[in-house]
């Protein structure tokens, strides 16, 4: 394991001051499930590690029309929260599929976003929910739409002096249904070969709006806008969904690895977008969000 100096600010003001001073040479650590592995492999070698565990104000959730999740909430907290289940059930469904319970116990949502591995499960769900990420520095607080948050492979808009403090999620629209499906040909706790989040909002029999986002399909999580556009105003019949799903093949840019070749992942993206849309449409018709 590499050497570093561990710093542990007692509150957010001290954390932001520490980041302002050491930002370029520092990494922030919460649960460490992503960062410790990167440090073990010497892919990241910070001089300072800034531990956030004393920042109690960042580990809460509350709902006031939008759901606000503190950056230090763990995946397990989000998976098991009644607040999440009641207001944004798609998140509970997504988070329970992340890795193993050992990872979900430690991994925080702020840490996951900062880690920005394109294979992660939560980002596609956040994308179809139009989530925003709140960032704080000593100078300002800003919110970034999740669609603009990821800038590249393991890269985000977070500046060295900024801290992710909350994720803000609007309530899903009435008459909408959503789902998250993960294609796992190997083991249950693996990253997906392709993962799809979909949300369908109906106006009578027709689709008022569809949102589709994918993980493990490119250098960043992505929205499949061509698929979404093709569905607007359509009745979600199996044929309509199948023809729209085909359009995702041009949107993805997967890499070949041990989870599948690029052409295979592209084919599977089409299959799983179709399945996700079908499931979301069923749920929208039943008027029950996610199951």
């Amino acid at each position: 394991m590499i050497s570093f100096t561990y710093l542990e600010p007692v509150d957010i003001d001290e954390a932001l001051a520490t980041l302002a001073r050491y930002g370029d040479e520092a990494k922030v650590i919460a649960g460490g499930t992503g960062l410790v592995n990167l440090m073990k492999q010497r892919l990241v070698q910070p001089t300072y590690l800034i531990g956030l565990r004393r920042l109690a104000g960042l580990s809460g959730m509350h709902y006031d029309g939008t759901l606000q999740i503190g950056a230090l909430c763990t995946h397990r907290m989000i998976e098991t929260s009644m607040l999440v289940r009641n207001h944004v059930p798609l998140l509970a469904e997504t988070f329970r599929q992340v890795a193993s319970v050992r990872i979900r116990t430690m991994a925080t949502i702020g840490g996951a976003l900062a880690h920005a591995d394109p294979n992660q499960d939560p980002p596609p769900a956040f994308m179809v929910l139009d989530a925003r990420v709140r960032l704080r520095s000593q100078q300002r607080t800003r919110e970034v739409a999740i669609g603009e948050f990821f800038t590249g492979y393991y890269e985000t808009v977070v500046a060295p002096n900024e801290l992710i403090t909350e994720v803000v999620i609007p309530s899903p629209l009435a008459d909408s249904g959503a789902t998250f499906v993960k294609f796992l040909p190997q083991t249950h706790d693996d990253y997906a070969t392709v993962a799809v989040a979909a949300q369908v909002t109906l106006d009578g029999d027709r689709i008022a709006e569809a949102r589709v986002a994918l993980g493990a399909a490119a250098a960043t999580p992505l929205r499949a806008t061509a698929v979404e556009d093709a569905l607007r105003g359509q009745v979600p019949t199996p044929t309509v969904l199948r023809e729209a799903a085909v359009l995702v093949a041009d949107a993805v840019d997967p890499t070949s690895d041990f989870r599948g070749s690029a052409p295979y992942k592209r084919d599977m993206a089409v299959v799983f977008v179709r399945r996700a849309l079908a499931q979301a449409a069923v749920r929208a018709r039943a008027g029950r969000g996610t199951a």
Binding site: Y6, G32, N37, V101, I103
Partner: protein, 156 residues
């Protein structure tokens, strides 16, 4: 170096450790609690599972400095004197281990499950335990051992 204070298997522990000490190394080398095994070293195989405030974690990817103030339970904390924990007894009676390397992690993961959900279905056991790998592939017997405890078939 930093001083951490925590509870390990119910006992207070105060130790000065290097900032980069991993929890698995802290347990094995600083505290001589070698029941916890290190397998993959990347948080995937489950061999190093211990309980942190009652919840299962991979101790190979947890920094010891961040468990300051917490309660850690390892396999050594389960038996009461010479009386095994029901899960340990079940793994013996129902053949829940072969080579034994994954067993401390399997038992700690199972303990976390049963502490929160004393009567899990077979499917709940399988879902919960799926990240704890057994290279002898003795999964059926591991599931049976946990079911035996959940069904009260093992004397506590």
């Amino acid at each position: 170096m930093r001083t951490i204070r925590l509870q390990v298997n119910g006992q207070p522990v105060v130790r000065e450790i290097p900032d980069n000490r991993l929890l698995v190394d802290f347990l094995r080398y600083d505290l001589d609690l070698t029941g916890t095994k290190e397998g993959c070293s990347v948080g995937v195989c489950g061999a190093c599972t211990v309980l942190l405030d009652g919840q299962p974690v991979s101790s190979c990817i947890v920094l010891a400095v961040i468990v300051d103030g917490c309660e850690v339970t390892t396999i050594e904390g389960l038996a009461q004197g010479d009386r095994f924990h029901p899960l340990q007894q079940a793994f013996i009676e129902y053949g829940g281990f072969q080579c034994g390397i994954c067993t401390p992690g399997q038992i700690m993961a199972a303990k976390a499950l049963l502490d929160g959900n004393p009567y899990p279905s077979k499917e709940e056991i399988q879902t919960w335990m799926m990240g704890n790998l057994c290279r002898c592939t003795g999964y059926y017997k591991i599931i049976e051992s946990i079911q035996a405890v959940a069904k009260g078939k093992v004397a506590p």
